[in-house]
């Protein structure tokens, strides 16, 4: 169990304390030394604030402070009670409607929605006319009015929650429906309901004020904030402050409640709230902390040196990628392999200048040779220049083709945009080029596919469209970030063939390919050189054939051995898990999982050493790896 006053709960303290203060004050109204809220002193009507009457007196000479506190009793009780009743009823209706669907849904959610068809004021008037004005009637009216909103939220949340794996798991365990609903579904749909609660309380206060203002709610002379606003309006020219106090009380309480419920939702989320993101225009230049740019010509197409990326967390910055150095020659395919959290995708995104805002490069350089032969450090390039390079000299294909295509635009148009963005001539010419590209990437019936919306294509076809967009401006470097992971094996084979074929094609010859993947077998099939990453660093690099035949880092060796392809009875599993970047083991980061680790491995962090022509390994005993 977590301590109640861990830092996460701190953010509840201020709004919570203020809210408690308001509630306590209001509850303690009879005990406080307040003037009688209904006692009239007509001779002192509209008197200014005085020691006896801190907020002054109203049009009948009644004490304003006292009326605000007593009025708060009514307003708060009515709104909280109504929000609570509506919450319980609405949540129940939504929960059972969303979980059981069918006839139950019709009886619960749809019936509740009928209420939404009536204008709220009309409904309120109807009930008040039938039952007469008063606080109880108000609670009833507000409950009826707010129930459908809860029912809808609970219904929508339940609908999406009921198909979640952990809900299905409960059913599979043999749990009864009520157990599933109240133990599993309800706690997990609670956060939006909490937000709904804060909104409802606020809205109920507003409505209570409104109805009282119209004379349909609380009956005078009992004070309520709405009544006070109503009364003050008629004398607002003589005593504008009279209007201010109840409005302030109303607005302040509502705001406070909203803040409190928002924070409560964040606190109840076990994963914690995300770190805030600074909008781009407020961000400092991303290269601020970097050393002076080096634009010396680098060998090859791209040369990454000492790339270090830092992630901003509430606990301080964490270096998630450290001292990554490797290069890609023209026409070469380099595979960047690693598990999740190894930093392989971040490295690729750094080259594209597409790092998420919470991650900044803090050291190193990425020297890229452009088409015209000039060399520039991509980490230092202003965003405007980077934008010109992206989709032109540099392009990328992402993992999930379904989420990288805009579902509301035709595929051809999206590819044409990539061409036009870099001055590809007229729209008509771009169109022809798209059809040609679609043919090039093996889409059947390219002219028709260009007119198709993404949902009309299969996953493999969408990935072909993405590749067409990526090679549209004959890039110098194509980055493919797990381009086949979301695809089936038979389609994966097709896409790998396509990439290999594109590279050998005349148009895109000399194109470098950086292939990011976790699949070693795919690396074997497509790459010339492989760069293996573990826990944010490169642990081994070399030509694919040699690395696979004679791995020089125990991690590479273990990965190769753990593949289920081997005929061994028991798979050679790597014990333990990938360390979190926040808690890296000292010394060699792989040492705790390594079968060959010695005492020395746990203390000194190894450097990358050369273990053959064009090969490096970050291990102190590289030659002993079998």
């Amino acid at each position: 169990m977590k301590a109640l006053f861990s830092p996460r709960f701190n953010q509840l303290a201020l709004p919570g304390a203020l809210l408690a203060l308001i509630v306590l004050t209001v509850l303690a109204a009879p005990l406080l030394p307040l003037a009688d809220p209904v006692k009239q002193m007509v001779n002192q009507r509209l008197a200014a604030p005085s020691p006896g009457h801190l907020l002054g007196q109203d049009e009948y000479g009644r004490d304003v402070l006292s009326r605000i506190i007593w009025g708060g009793r009514v307003s708060l009780t009515v709104s909280f009670l109504a929000a609570f009743c509506a919450g319980v009823i609405g949540t129940l209706l939504g929960l059972v409607g969303g979980y059981f669907r069918g006839i139950v849904e019709l009886m619960s959610v749809r019936l509740a929605e009928v209420i939404l068809c009536f204008p709220p004021m009309l409904l309120a008037l109807l009930v008040v006319t039938l039952l007469g004005p008063g606080a109880v009637t108000l609670v009833l009216v507000l409950t009826i009015l707010f129930t459908p909103a809860y029912a809808r939220v609970a219904y929508a949340e339940t609908l999406s929650a009921r198909t979640l794996d952990y809900v299905t798991a409960q059913t599979a365990l043999g749990a009864t429906s009520s157990r599933v609903l109240f133990r599993t579904v309800l706690p997990n749909i609670a956060p939006p309901l909490l937000v709904q609660f804060s909104l409802t309380v606020a809205a109920a206060m507003m409505l209570e004020s409104g109805l009282s203002f119209l004379g349909l709610g609380v009956v005078p002379p009992s004070p309520s904030w709405g009544l006070m606003i109503r009364a003050a309006r008629s004398v607002m020219e003589q005593a504008p402050l009279l209007l201010l106090w109840p409005c302030l009380a109303l607005a302040g309480t509502v705001l406070l409640l909203n803040v409190f419920c928002d924070r409560l939702r964040d606190v109840l989320d076990p994963r914690g709230a995300a770190v805030g993101v600074i909008p781009a225009f407020l961000r400092k230049s991303r290269a601020a902390a970097l050393p002076q740019a080096t634009t010396e010509p680098a060998p090859g197409l791209v040369r990454i040196d000492n790339l270090t990326l830092s992630l901003k967390t509430p606990a301080g910055p964490i270096k998630v990628v450290r001292n990554v150095s490797f290069g890609i020659a023209p026409g070469e395919t380099v595979a960047l392999v690693g598990e999740s959290g190894s930093g392989k995708t971040l490295t690729a995104l750094a080259v594209m200048g597409l790092l998420p805002p919470v991650i900044t490069p803090v050291d190193g350089s990425i020297r890229f040779t452009r088409r015209d032969g000039t060399v520039s450090d991509l980490l230092q390039l202003p965003e405007a220049d980077m934008r010109r390079l992206r989709g032109n000299d540099l392009s990328i294909v992402f993992q999930d083709p379904s989420s990288s295509l805009n579902p509301v635009h035709r595929c051809g148009k999206q590819v044409a945009e990539a061409i036009l963005a870099h001055g590809g001539g007229s729209a008509r010419k771009a169109r022809d080029r798209v059809v040609e590209l679609f043919r090039r990437v093996g889409l059947p019936d390219p002219a028709r596919r260009a007119n198709a919306f993404p949902h009309e294509l299969s996953g493999g076809q969408k990935q072909r469209v993405m590749i067409a967009a990526a090679v549209a401006n004959t890039p110098r470097l194509l980055i493919a970030d797990e381009p086949t992971t979301a695809l089936d094996v038979t389609v994966q084979a097709q896409i790998l063939d396509l990439l290999a074929e594109l590279k050998s094609g005349a148009e895109t010859s000399g194109m470098g390919l950086l292939f990011v993947t976790h699949n070693l077998a795919v690396v074997r099939q497509i790459a010339d050189r492989v760069v293996v990453m573990y826990a944010g660093e490169i642990v081994e690099e070399g030509p694919v054939g040699e690395v696979f035949a004679h791995p020089r880092h125990p991690y590479t060796a273990a990965l190769l051995a753990s593949a289920p392809e081997s005929e061994a009875e028991e798979l050679a599993a790597i014990p333990g898990t990938v360390p979190s970047p926040a808690a890296l083991p000292p010394g060699c980061h792989f040492a705790p999982r390594c079968a060959l680790s010695t005492q020395a491995c746990a203390t000194a962090h190894p450097d990358a050493v050369e273990v053959g022509p064009g090969r490096t390994a970050r291990c102190i005993r590289p030659m002993e790896v079998a």
Partner: protein, 341 residues
């Protein structure tokens, strides 16, 4: 009783614990804004059997219906046609209470360990759920059992009070397996249990499943698109394509001599780590939409051996040697043991 004689099962000598006949499962599909709703069949007639303690792999590409099969076999999604019997009891006909009781004996492990655990409850509570639901132990006893289960799947029993997000993917999958084992099931259905895991952790979970199987005599239905893992773990393999079984064989034989052209293509497309294979021409095109399956054999649109006759008739799954069944008439005609016409 129906006169239809079901084809011989792969293990006719062992009484199947779980048996499915003619399973169909449809989902409502919709065509366009005003299109009439029509039924999309995810399962188009599947027969399946699992003997006690047997491990059967179900392979196929996404959309072939393998995950739907997992849910229909456990009656989490009712079949629209056909029936599933567990230990002789028809799951569809059982009263709710008895079905819930029977669930103790068949458990499910999901693909995504990040989605299969309730993020708001300590993992110990979640593992204890099954024990308490079926009243297999008192609350105190459940605590001990949870500790034992955690130890069994290789986790520290002291971590029972932690929330799921404090664990890595591989550890979460172990927790999910512990939860599934909490009711002492006879059958474990694992729906792609390692495909969401890191490469270095996959082997751990595969070894764990293998170990549990030999120690507990657990029946296993292992659903996967990774043929290598299936080969490693399963006795028998069922290959599915577009909602139907196209081939079924003992694992070793299927990999040594795949009969169905789809099985062959699947094996050829699976990249190998050992060598750059001069791969056979990759299969053209993609799996057709289940909303509009081709007539006759669903694979004929991509099949290198398709004949005009393949478009005519839905191929039946027929005996093709000991323990093997195959749904491809042209290939069946070449197999000497097959009782072809």
């Amino acid at each position: 009783m129906n006169v239809h004689v079901s084809p011989p099962l792969a293990f006719p000598d062992r009484r199947p614990l779980l048996r499915a006949e003619g399973l169909k499962r449809g989902f409502k599909g919709r065509g366009g804004l005003l299109g009439r709703s029509h039924e999309v069949l995810a399962l188009r007639g599947v027969d399946f059997a699992l003997a006690r303690g047997e491990a059967v792999g179900v392979v196929g590409e996404s959309g072939c219906g393998k995950s739907t099969l997992a849910r229909v076999l456990l009656h989490l999604t009712p079949a629209t046609a056909g029936r599933v019997t567990f230990d002789g009891k028809d799951l569809g006909a059982l009263p709710k209470r008895e079905l819930r009781a029977l669930r103790r004996r068949m458990q499910l492990v999901f693909q995504d360990p990040f989605a299969s655990l309730d993020p708001r409850r300590p993992i110990g509570d979640q593992i204890a759920d099954g024990i308490l639901i079926h009243r297999l132990a008192t609350r105190e006893g459940a605590k001990e059992k949870v500790a034992a289960l955690l130890a069994q799947v290789g986790l520290d029993p002291a971590h029972a009070g932690r929330l799921p997000h404090e664990f890595s993917g591989g550890q979460r999958q172990r927790i999910a397996i512990a939860r599934a084992l909490s009711t002492d099931p006879d059958v474990l259905v694992a729906d792609e249990p390692v495909s969401a895991l890191d490469v270095s952790v996959q082997a751990q979970v595969v070894n764990l499943l293998k170990d549990l199987r030999s120690r507990l005599g657990l029946g296993l239905i292992f659903i996967s698109h990774d043929l290598h893992v299936v080969r490693h773990l399963c006795d028998r393999v069922v290959v599915m394509y577009l909602g139907r079984v196209v081939e079924e064989a003992p694992a070793a034989e299927l990999f040594a001599t795949p009969h169905h052209p789809y099985t062959q293509a699947l094996l050829a497309a699976t990249p190998s780590m050992h060598a750059v294979d001069d791969r056979r021409e990759p299969l053209k095109g993609e799996m057709p939409s289940p909303a509009n399956p081709p007539s006759g054999c669903a694979f004929r649109t991509r099949c290198p051996r398709a004949l005009p006759a393949c478009a005519e008739e839905l191929p039946e799954l027929l005996h093709a040697g000991p323990g093997r069944r195959l749904a491809c008439p042209p290939v069946l005609a070449e197999i000497p043991e097959a009782p072809h016409a």
